[in-house]
């Protein structure tokens, strides 16, 4: 492929992916030097049932245009300033759908997502939004909806954003920031950041920023903060924080729909979900789902302890600006309030829970903490089956924009994928830890809420209710 051959003189091509050799021809066309990530992206498309691809030529991709403007327009070698965008569909159709005056109705043809291909032989994969494979999709907690326009028709896809580094303007750390930044932009409405802006956000250290040889974890977290997503940094090897583990920290944020950056093996990648493998069995373990810009999207990590990048030494968690409190801090405060409430409220159910908590045969109850927007929390009350006396009290509570919800779970019910929440506390995510307050808590028989302005407390007696569904994005 040379400068003049990059974009043929036509609008688009429709590729029948069922034809033998279609995959090889795409890899040959776009990934001659670096085929691995491209192959994985195409394999992902195949795994979700893609049978047809529509390739848009002369596509003005904001991210690649920005990269070209900042870097590739300054090199001696000339690079095209346009990209190609490949859309995948699960229905089989040919170019006759596009040719002619009738509307193509792409939305009825099983849109599975897209990938932007850059005219960079060594790093073709740009912005990619592909649906997760069906076996992993229920466990991807950091998926969001993107909308594209193909020949005037709006198409939507739910996916976790992916991109690969170009090894010039960006390395793995920049790619992780782009993936997380684009996710937060689509999911929470934060600002969209282009690649050169991400590069500019990196605080200077020894050496040049562009071309980049790598970033320290400090630079990565500082960049995230400058991009409006202040990040928490956790050292997880050899000693995680007291009372915590890599699994607990990562899963807490993934449950909240917050992607997590991992630094391990001198590489950085993004966790976008996890699954419990063989729940309830002696060999139960957590398998993470990651986006690795050097390996492809939605890779299942069978055992993070024996991963190619082990040991995983750091976790970096970019969060919305108004989440001041970390998850482990919220869990300590919320759990203690729930323990106190369970001691104060004496009925059959609280006695049963106290007995479960004190059993010596392995923990029967555990705490789970999830950060959610208070709007989502309130609008999701019905879907979670929260009965009206409690739901009404929550709906009339004034809450901070973001709240931590600390839940007490029955572990046997959770393993059985049944509603398992026995009690919960709601914490203002902007509150000071010195206050050690919760906005509300609920235990069997009693609901209590507290107003920070008037410092008044209200209580409401509750009838017996069944365990509730969790507010977290996984399990029950």
């Amino acid at each position: 492929m040379n400068l003049h051959d990059w974009s043929p003189e036509r609008l688009a091509d429709v590729v029948d992916l069922d034809r033998p050799g279609a995959l090889s021809s795409l890899v040959d066309q776009y990934g001659r030097i670096e085929p691995h990530v491209l192959s994985r992206v195409l394999a992902n498309a195949y795994s979700v049932g893609a049978r047809t691809a529509v390739i848009e030529y002369r596509y003005l991709d904001p991210d690649y245009r920005d990269e070209h403007s900042r870097f590739y327009s300054t090199t001696f070698r000339r690079y095209p300033s346009v990209a190609h965008r490949v859309h995948f569909f699960t229905e089989r159709f040919d170019a006759s759908v596009v040719v002619g005056d009738a509307a193509p109705r792409f939305a009825d043809r099983g849109y599975a997502g897209y990938t932007v291909l850059r005219p960079l032989a060594g790093a073709p994969i740009g912005r990619t939004m592909l649906a997760a494979p069906s076996d992993l999709a229920p466990h991807v907690t950091c998926a969001t909806t993107d909308t594209v326009n193909l020949f005037g028709e709006k198409l939507t896809v739910c996916a976790a954003p992916f991109v690969s580094q170009d090894a010039q303007l960006s390395v793995c750390a920049h790619a992780t920031l782009w993936m997380i930044g684009y996710y937060h932009h689509l999911q929470f409405g934060s600002r969209r950041w282009l690649p050169s802006e991400i590069t500019d956000a990196v605080p200077e250290d020894v050496g040049r920023g562009t071309p980049s040889l790598g970033l320290t974890v400090y630079q990565l977290s500082a960049s995230s903060s400058r991009l409006g997503l202040p990040a928490l940094v956790y050292g997880t090897y050899p000693d995680p924080p007291p009372g915590e583990s890599l699994l607990r920290i990562a899963c807490r944020y993934l449950n909240s729909g917050m992607p997590v950056i991992v630094g391990g093996g001198e590489h950085a990648f993004v966790l976008v979900g996890y699954e419990r493998h063989r729940p309830g069995q002696p060999d139960e373990r957590i398998r993470f789902i990651r986006h690795d810009d050097q390996d492809g999207p939605y890779a299942l990590v069978s055992n993070y302890l024996f991963d190619a990048y082990s040991p995983w030494e750091f976790l970096v968690v970019p969060l919305p600006r108004k989440v001041y409190m970390s998850g482990e801090d919220a869990e300590i405060v919320g759990a203690e309030h729930l323990r106190q409430a369970l001691d104060e409220v004496d009925n059959d159910e609280t006695r049963r829970i106290r007995a479960l908590a004190s059993t010596g045969e392995g923990r029967k109850v555990s705490f789970r903490s999830t950060v959610v927007s208070s709007n989502s929390f309130k609008s999701g009350l019905s879907d979670r089956g929260v009965p009206e006396p409690i739901a009404a009290s929550y709906r009339r509570m004034q809450m901070s924009r973001w709240i931590w919800v600390v839940e007490l779970l029955d572990r046997d019910l959770r393993r059985a994928s049944k509603p398992c929440v026995l009690a919960e506390a709601v914490i203002d995510a902007t509150d000071s830890l010195r206050n050690q307050q919760v906005l509300s808590w609920r235990v069997p028989g009693l609901f209590r809420k507290w107003d920070p302005d008037t410092r008044r407390q209200w209580s409401r007696a509750l009838p017996d209710i069944d365990p509730l569904r969790s507010v977290a994005l996984v399990d029950m």
Partner: protein, 69 residues
């Protein structure tokens, strides 16, 4: 203007209380101790939070030397 606003509120507005007073919720405490942890629990929580804070500071210090690419 303020007088007109008061008139409007008194004549036409029905206040929505923060609590469902009269329908199940009742005020049962007020002041600095309302909703607080007991002193023993508060001390325990403060200690745990301090330890986590120290661990975070160690992690941030260590992050300056760990490069990814």
């Amino acid at each position: 203007m303020a007088k007109a606003r008061r008139y409007l509120l008194e004549e036409y507005a029905t206040p929505v209380p923060a609590a469902l007073v009269g329908d199940g919720e009742q005020t049962d405490a007020a002041g600095d101790d309302a909703g607080a942890l007991s002193p023993e629990r508060a001390v325990r929580v403060a200690q745990q939070l301090r330890e986590l804070d120290q661990a975070r500071q160690r992690a941030e210090a260590g992050s300056r030397d760990y490069q990814v690419s």
